[in-house]
């Protein structure tokens, strides 16, 4: 028997019982929709996080000194690290939360006290005014570069060069406005204030530099530079657990792993609903075989072989679940777009997921159709003909 004819036969049989076929399909539709939507959203957010991290620069290395209270790096240490081959720039950072006031308005924000190198290392530039200069550090000027959120919050506008603000009660004048960065995984990059390191040491009453950023000449030498820094710090502290060195590539792969695991888990749960849908198909196919016992008997009497009946019922269940799969893909597309709009997560629907979902749903139909179909195929023709 020709395949196309078998499919046409299956479709007409499905159409002859529309409500039941639809309800049977519903399990598969829901399963496929869930798989498509969850994978699309999972991948979309992974892509966004990755691109955010990449925009920070893949040649960035972050060093945190942990361990003992008085452990920190000195100016000489930093000079030594800056001298490592492959390092292009270095910026120590002292950070803390502060309260900022201007006129009668105040806000809390994060403060970073650093050096002019920060600009290049963190890929953070000003859109108005200027960044910190070496002179600001040397003279311990009370100048500040602010993010746009701070400017908006305190002044309601962005051209605030020359305005005075008070940080934890100390007067500063604004010399620059940072470029707008938008929010990232780590929170808003626009809600911060940058001041000279030396001024910050006084303000925060701490001279200990426990965090510093290093940028390398190219992303290729990151690992080598990380190794050098680790060796240097291990020798200095005589303890390799007293500091942590991160780089963006590492961070990227960690986050990718985490989201991939999450996506896998979610789609696994969605896969379970596909399985349940498959059981629904099996159930209905068993009912259908019983109902159509007489038809099977007639077909066998006029010459249908076991295989013909088997194929007929298998195709029927594969078409039901395949159709459910296609509908699920359509609903999944809509669901992913809808959710990405309300949750503000980008959706990434890729061809491989669509193919996988289609293949999986047809496979579910065949696997769960196998038992009912073989039951139909092995019916004895006279018993089947006698069946009322």
């Amino acid at each position: 028997m020709k395949f196309t004819r078998a499919i046409r036969m299956a479709i007409s049989s499905i159409l002859s019982n529309k409500m039941r076929s639809f309800l049977t399909m519903l399990g598969v539709i829901i399963g496929v929709t869930a798989v498509i939507t969850l994978i699309a959203l999972g991948r979309g957010s992974t892509q966004r996080v990755s691109s955010q991290i990449e925009s920070l620069g893949t040649n960035l290395i972050i060093i945190n000194i942990t361990g003992g209270r008085n452990r920190s790096v000195t100016q000489e240490d930093l000079q030594r690290i800056k001298g490592i081959s492959g390092v292009s720039e270095l910026a120590p950072v002292l950070s803390g939360g502060v309260t900022v006031k201007a006129g009668n308005k105040n806000t809390s924000t994060s403060l970073e006290a650093t050096t002019p190198g920060y600009q290049q290392v963190r890929n953070t530039y000003v859109q108005l005014g200027r960044f910190l200069l070496q002179n600001d550090l040397d003279m311990r000027f009370r100048v500040a570069v602010v993010g746009v959120d701070v400017a908006d919050e305190l002044f309601g506008r962005r051209d605030v060069i020359g305005e005075e603000i008070s940080i934890n009660g100390v007067e500063f004048s604004i010399v620059g406005i940072l470029e707008e960065k938008g929010s990232s995984v780590a929170g808003s990059d626009d809600n911060r204030i940058i001041i000279p390191l030396t001024t910050g040491q006084r303000l925060l009453r701490s001279t200990e530099v426990r965090t510093f950023y290093v940028s390398t000449l190219s992303p290729d030498v990151v690992n080598q530079v990380v190794g050098e820094i680790e060796r240097f710090l291990t020798r200095k502290f005589n303890d390799e657990n007293s500091f942590r060195v991160f780089n963006q590539t590492q961070l990227l792969s960690t986050i990718n792993e985490a989201t991939a695991t999450l996506t896998m888990m979610l789609s696994g749960i969605a896969g379970i609903s596909l399985l349940v849908g498959g059981i629904g198909i099996m159930n209905i196919m068993l009912v259908s075989v019983t109902e159509r016992t007489r038809e099977i008997g007639i077909r066998k009497a006029i010459g249908a072989k076991k295989r013909d009946i088997l194929v007929q019922f298998l195709i029927e269940s594969a078409v039901i679940s395949g159709l459910g799969g296609v509908l699920g893909i359509i609903v999944g597309f809509m669901g992913a777009n809808f959710l990405s709009r309300i949750l503000n997560i980008p959706a990434a629907i890729s061809a491989d997921v669509v193919l996988l979902a289609t293949g999986f749903s047809v496979g579910v139909g065949i696997i769960f159709g196998l038992y009912p179909a073989s039951k139909a195929a092995s019916l004895n023709p006279i018993d089947a003909l006698r069946y009322e």
Binding site: M1, S13, I298, R299, I382
Partner: protein, 227 residues
Amino acid sequence: MIRLENLSKIYSMGDNRVVALNEISLSIDKGEFVAIMGPSGSGKSTLMNIIGCLDVATHGKYYLDGRDITSYNQNQLAEVRNKKFGFVFQGFNLLPKLTAVENVELPLVYAGVGAKKRREEAIRALEMMGLGKRIYHRPSELSGGQQQRVAIARALVNHPSVILADEPTGNLDSKSGMEIMEIFRELHSQGNTIILITHDINVARYAKRMITIRDGQIVSDEEVERR
């Protein structure tokens, strides 16, 4: 053409053994029109099922066109049913969701005939049965007599060696029943081999030879004298 040798069919249900056919020997030649008569429970339906390869005997031999088919498996039997037999049942046994022509096409579908040829042959068979105008009707839109004629067209479409009719007039009024029997008489005069199972002597009289069975055994096998 058909030769049965000491054919028995025994059903065992638990400790009960029911002998449906007891050592039947019988041969039917090409071109014969045979009626198998008997009251219900006599074993005539079992006999027809075995002749039609819908069932297999417990003991004995069955030769069809000289070949011993007792040892055939299910698939081989299906092929024999498809190629050698055309069935006409009491309850018509048409598929309700298919049109007349699709029903008639079915044996050709399983014989692997191409779509175009199938349709032509099916339409020709329906026209022969005087149903040229009812080709695309579904069984529910046809009268009992018309449905049975569709079933006969289906039985004929594959040019079978034998037409097996099991109480073909059982569900029909007497007028339609007579029409159907006239069709069988006509088919016989064209050279078809027909085996008719019935309990009705008036129906059996259309045949040329009448075999009566009772309790699984042949009690008489005689020529039918013309009315």
